[in-house]
């Protein structure tokens, strides 16, 4: 237990001091990307990992919030108003998603969310008066909360870090709460949960809303980071990518989506600078994960670590023990 707290403390110190030892602004920006994609992945993990509801349309929700932010800013609203409005738009979109897709589970849920995501992607392409079509929308400025200009890479990183830590804390509290336990119950035995007195649909609906909130928050960070939003962000590949973050890191774990996000972002941005076929590399890594640790990197590493630890302990106990066995 103390070992765990120590590890988390080290991770925290590493994250807080990151801009001071990182090799340059470029890498600080990579770290910012990892963090806001991690929030996105944590949001999807609420459904895919803890709820057993795999969504392939989350990029659509992400995109709607990002477009809403850009559009509000273009209309001349301030940052605060735009952000709040965008979050509300994101939540409404999620509520509509949930009302339509929670009619089913399993493959049905996947296909309905996929279809909804594709509809939003199509709208982003075709509703040119609103979205600018292929040209996308650009966001001219970043906000300056409490007088800290986020235009600076380091300040933006810290703002993202704060939001990330808050999101992770919210997720941790949720997972340990009765509602979180109920959500996991509906994942494993929905029928039993109903006869125990739970409203399975409502539990799933609330989980969707929580997932939508985290998705929307990450989308706002994304749109301020890139200062640009185009239909590509809503494409199916984006939905698949964040789902892969969740699955490769470990669905249904707190830290898994963060590790998954780090893996995908690093390969996509850093490694792609050296290897042209980075998509191939990412695919190979995913195949390796599926073969070697199908439960994901975080639970898989924990398992290997425990196995190694036990083997070491056994060796330590059998070596002198072997001598005692023959007195």
């Amino acid at each position: 237990m103390s070992q765990r707290i120590f590890a988390l403390l080290v991770a925290f110190v590493v994250l807080v001091t990151l801009p001071y030892w990182m090799a340059g602004v470029y890498y600080v920006n990579v770290a910012s990307q990892i963090l806001f994609y991690a929030i996105f992945a944590i949001g999807l993990n609420v459904l895919a990992g803890y709820g057993g509801l795999v969504s392939l349309g989350h990029a659509g929700l992400f995109g709607v919030t990002a477009y809403a932010t850009g559009y509000m800013l273009q209309l001349g609203f301030g940052h605060t108003v735009s952000i709040i409005a965008a979050l509300i738009v994101g939540l409404i979109a999620m509520a509509i998603y949930a009302l339509l897709s929670l009619r089913s589970t399993g493959i049905g849920f996947i296909m309905i969310t996929l279809a909804l995501g594709e509809i939003l992607w199509g709208l982003a392409y075709r509703w040119i008066s609103l979205t600018g079509g292929d040209n996308g929308l650009s966001v001219k400025t970043r906000p300056e909360p409490f007088g800290f200009p986020l235009a600076d890479a380091n300040t933006f990183y810290y703002a993202t870090l704060v939001v990330f830590l808050l999101s992770l804390a919210a997720m941790t509290i949720f997972v340990r709460s009765p509602l979180g336990a109920a959500l996991m119950g509906t994942r494993d035995q929905p029928r039993r949960m109903t006869t125990l007195g739970y409203h399975v649909w409502a539990i799933r609906f609330y989980a969707c809303i929580f997932s939508g909130l985290l998705t929307a928050v990450s989308a706002v960070l994304f749109v301020y980071y890139t200062q640009f939003i185009s239909p590509q962000t809503l494409a199916l590949t984006s939905s698949a990518e964040v789902l892969l973050m969740v699955i490769s890191g470990g669905a249904g774990t707190l830290l898994g989506p963060i590790v998954g996000s780090a893996l995908v972002v690093v390969v996509k941005t850093v490694v792609s600078g050296y290897i042209e076929r980075w998509n191939f590399l990412l695919g190979a890594i995913f195949v390796a994960i599926v073969i070697l640790m199908p439960e994901g990197l975080v639970p898989g590493s924990v398992r290997l670590w425990r196995m190694a630890w036990r083997k070491r302990e056994r060796r330590a106990s059998t070596l002198p023990g072997g001598a005692e066995a023959n007195p």
Partner: protein
Amino acid sequence: MSALTVTNLCKSFGGLHVTTNVNLNVEPGERRLIIGPNGAGKTTLFNLITGELTPDSGSIELLGQDITRVPSRRRAHLGMARTYQIITLFGRDTIIHNVTLALLGLSSARWNPLIDLKRQGHFVEHAQAALERVGLGNIANRPLGQTSYGERRRVEIAMALTQNPKVLLLDEPFAGLSIDERRDVHQLLLAIPRDVTIVMIEHNMDVALEFAERITLLHFGEVIVEGNRAEVVADPRTREVYLGH
């Protein structure tokens, strides 16, 4: 007022009539046994009573209240609990977490996203007490995956009992148990106080006959014979469809 009244209940799947004009009247505190050959519609009747299936016609009353249109989850809040023939538990969690989920289901705290469930002392105590009652107190924190079949049967019963039901529906509680385990579960069922009404489906006649006061025999979805133990056993139709010659 009866604990459970089923009136003219019908259910068919396509052309197959699985429940045909079933009438059932169970008095408070009664121990009722439902028997019948495979495919007689016993579990379907339970699913209709708990609301997991919707009847085509007929009505169901729980303690004088018509619950025919009441959703399944509300019936739990009105005092109905069941166990499953095919064990239906939360396999990734510990034994005590399974029982805690049963407790939480009837508590308004189930909607709370902010408190730490493991630190809710009253849930832990109640769940532990329920496990002591079924003799699993010493392995409460064992993952369910590491328990035996007989222990899981008892977890099922503990989950149902911890909800303090007024009507308890037991679907083959002795199925798949060894003789020793059967005796344990039997003792457990005998210890349930009389303010709980029990309706039980069971094939294992030696234990079940001893337990039940009244017996209902189902055959092809219809009630063929109903009466007290001696009447049903003596009835020629029971011999014909169930006990054999």
